[in-house]
């Protein structure tokens, strides 16, 4: 009788184990699925955030480029120089290389 009971318990455990394993797999599968879905959704949001940042950086770059282009305008620089009282030299004096210029004592 004792031997039969032990066999019965074993078979019951055996049945329970199989079911549990299947349920465990299903649970893990669903968990992973949920996890991936959440991660994907988060990554989408992160991507959108990165795109927003990229747009911001592009905008800043454009602003800086515009500033650089405006600042490097020789015409504008010439106007400013004129306003500040700078004049272009009217005459150019050529000095012979043989002559000593600004010689130290």
């Amino acid at each position: 009788m004792k031997v039969n009971r032990k066999k019965q318990k074993l078979s019951i455990f055996g049945k329970i184990n199989k079911r549990n394993i299947i349920w465990l797999f299903v649970a893990v599968f669903i968990g992973i699925q949920v996890l991936f879905t959440i991660q994907t959704a988060t990554a989408g949001a992160k991507l959108a955030e990165l795109e927003r940042e990229e747009q911001g950086l592009i905008k800043s770059k454009q602003e800086l480029s515009r500033y650089l282009v405006e600042s490097s305008s020789l015409s504008e620089m010439e106007k400013t120089a004129d306003e500040l009282g700078f004049n272009k030299p009217v005459n150019t004096f050529y000095i012979s290389t043989d002559e000593i210029v600004a010689k130290l004592p």
Partner: protein
């Protein structure tokens, strides 16, 4: 009890039927329509703009840069305020600050009529609105008014190189299109290729990564690195403007080129236009006179004919003209000198120094029609120079078998033939370059993110001997020192130059008063750093090139000498 079960069963059955019916309605009957609607909600597509390439000076600074502007639009169903009120709020931002109240009212009317359109849901209200104005409009918080980014061209040096650069307008399809100059010639290179992004997103616009997506990246336009020297260009532009005022000319142009390589260093013409607001100017101003306007060159053409005669060895510098004692009669025509003074037995040097038409007719007769035609062809007269600018045109050279004696005689002093300024400077640069002709060009390199590629230009070709070129250079040096323009000659500088005063043909005869004055020269003559052609149309202070174009040439050259490190002799 059984009745209650029956009732519940019937209710269940009815409910099931209703649900089934609704499902049939939504899934089958309305299925396609709803699928499209749903798809439009979560699938979005947008064009990724390809930024147009920039145009740079030889030092890498900008001639044309990319800039931002905004299209202001109205999403009509979202507008809650009265159309007139919205128009009144927006109109002040859409007109120039110097406009009158009448202009403001006209703008309000225009906007109101746009906002009241029944057939539209999306209406563009104003193009090219600046970022500053956009910010101001945003502060008004008008529901239904939105902005779309537009790329514009920014010209930091304003109109100083308008003809050279061209402009960007719209094609008949509403696409960006480069017109004239570099924008037109290099349109495909500059414009790049737009990309496309299509993907699924949720209600908040967050992309669904597991959904379908497709991205075709945009290919940026390529930048042009030109040979234009910005300080030289600005100097030339300013001096030309001043020169036109000083000499009361109707217009004019200046080209500065490196005669050894054909690199154009500066090119300016007046009257001009502002490429940023090209739409405010007439079409007539868009053509670049340097490459598209033909004129009878007058005495500067003597350079080509005399150099040809020296190369053909039909004359030598000391050959004496035995027909120069008086006017020359050819058929029913008389060839006279510009000042009606005649010098018997003039040498060829004298002929060039005095710009003697009779002496040149003598040279022409020695050369003959066939050889003259061949040499003019070699010098590129009558054919396009191949410069990389859109809009180049060339007048046709008279057919070879149609050259009579009078045609040869008049062509030898620059009448009866038509050329463009670029053809003349290219031909004269052959003399400066010891007999080798080069192709003028404006773009040196193409450049993108981290790469550069040099542009290959058609090879140089010897068309006259070095001896002939050197002999003629010596004549031009004498002409600059002792010719009609000697008063303006910059003493000490090694300049080779020639003036040209051409009459303007009108309806079969020459205008008595109007002229085209030009001066072409290079320096230093033994190792030229630059060649420059100045052309003034109808100068009113004096008809002569020696009193208009020549002083303007020297006025510009005076600044170029120190810039190119050219020192005076002694």
């Amino acid at each position: 009890m059984p009745n209650r079960i029956k009732i519940v069963t019937v209710l269940f059955f009815l409910s099931f039927t209703v649900v089934l019916g609704r499902l049939f309605y939504w899934q089958i009957y309305k299925g396609k329509e709803l699928a499209i609607q749903a798809r439009s909600q979560y699938v979005g597509g947008e064009t990724i703009m390809a930024p147009r390439g920039e145009i740079l000076a030889s030092d890498g600074s900008w001639f044309v840069a990319r800039g931002d502007s905004w299209l202001v639009y109205a999403a009509l169903p979202k507008i809650l305020e009265d159309s007139k009120e919205v128009a009144e709020k927006l109109a002040p931002y859409f007109i120039d600050s110097n406009k009158t109240r009448k202009d403001l009212l006209v703008e309000i009317d225009r906007l109101t009529s746009l906002l009241e359109k029944d057939s539209a849901v999306w209406i563009p209200l104003k193009n090219r609105v600046s970022t500053g104005t956009k910010t101001e409009i945003e502060k008004l918080n008008i529901e239904g008014i939105g902005f779309e980014r537009q790329e514009i061209r920014v010209y930091p040096e304003a109109s100083s190189a308008a003809h050279l650069l061209g402009f960007v307008g719209k094609s008949s399809d509403g696409e960006e299109q480069g017109y004239f100059g570099l924008e037109g010639y290099y349109h495909l290179t500059l414009s790049g290729k737009p990309g496309y992004l299509s993907r699924e997103s949720d209600a908040r616009g967050v992309p669904i990564l597991l959904g379908n997506s497709q991205k075709i990246s945009a290919i940026e336009g390529i930048n042009l690195v030109t040979s234009i020297d910005k300080p030289v260009q600005l100097n030339v532009n300013k001096k030309l403007k001043d020169g036109i005022e000083t000499y009361g000319a109707a217009g004019g142009s200046v080209i500065v080129m490196d005669p050894k390589s054909g690199r154009v260093l500066a090119m300016a013409s007046y009257p001009s236009y502002d490429p940023a607001e090209y739409f405010k100017y007439g079409d007539a101003l868009f053509n670049n006179p340097v490459i598209s306007s033909s004129f009878e060159p007058g005495s500067v053409f003597k350079v080509i004919v005399m150099a040809s005669a020296l190369d053909a060895e039909v004359v030598e510098p000391d050959t004496k003209c035995d027909i120069c004692a008086g006017p020359l009669k050819i058929g029913k025509y008389y060839v006279k000198t510009w000042n009606n003074e005649y010098h018997a037995d003039s040498t060829m040097i004298d002929v060039i120094v005095r710009s003697d038409n009779v002496g040149m007719a003598f040279v022409g007769s020695k050369l003959g029609a066939n050889k003259m035609y061949e040499y003019l062809n070699k010098f590129g007269i009558g054919e396009l120079t191949g410069i990389d600018l859109q809009g180049e045109a060339t007048p046709k050279l008279r057919d070879k078998d149609k050259w009579g004696d009078i045609d040869v005689a008049t062509a030898s002093f620059g009448q009866g033939v038509a050329v463009t300024p670029i053809q003349i400077i290219r031909a004269v640069s052959t003399i400066a370059n010891k007999g080798v002709i080069v192709t003028p060009h404006v773009v040196d390199k193409l450049s993108g993110e981290g790469w550069e590629e040099e542009i290959k230009v058609n090879g140089a070709e010897r068309i006259i001997s070095e001896k002939a070129a050197t002999q003629f250079t010596a004549m031009m040096v004498e002409a600059a020192k002792k010719g009609e323009a000697k008063w303006t000659h910059e003493r000490g500088f090694k300049v080779a130059g020639k003036t040209g005063t051409a009459q303007i043909p009108i309806e079969g005869h020459y205008d008595e008063e109007k002229t085209i004055a030009s001066f072409v020269g290079f320096a230093p003559y033994d190792d030229p750093k630059f060649i420059m052609l100045v052309t003034l149309h109808e100068p009113s202070t004096s008809p002569w090139a020696s009193e208009t174009a020549a002083p303007l040439w020297y006025s510009i050259a005076k600044n170029l000498f120190p810039y190119f490190g050219i020192h005076p002799e002694n």
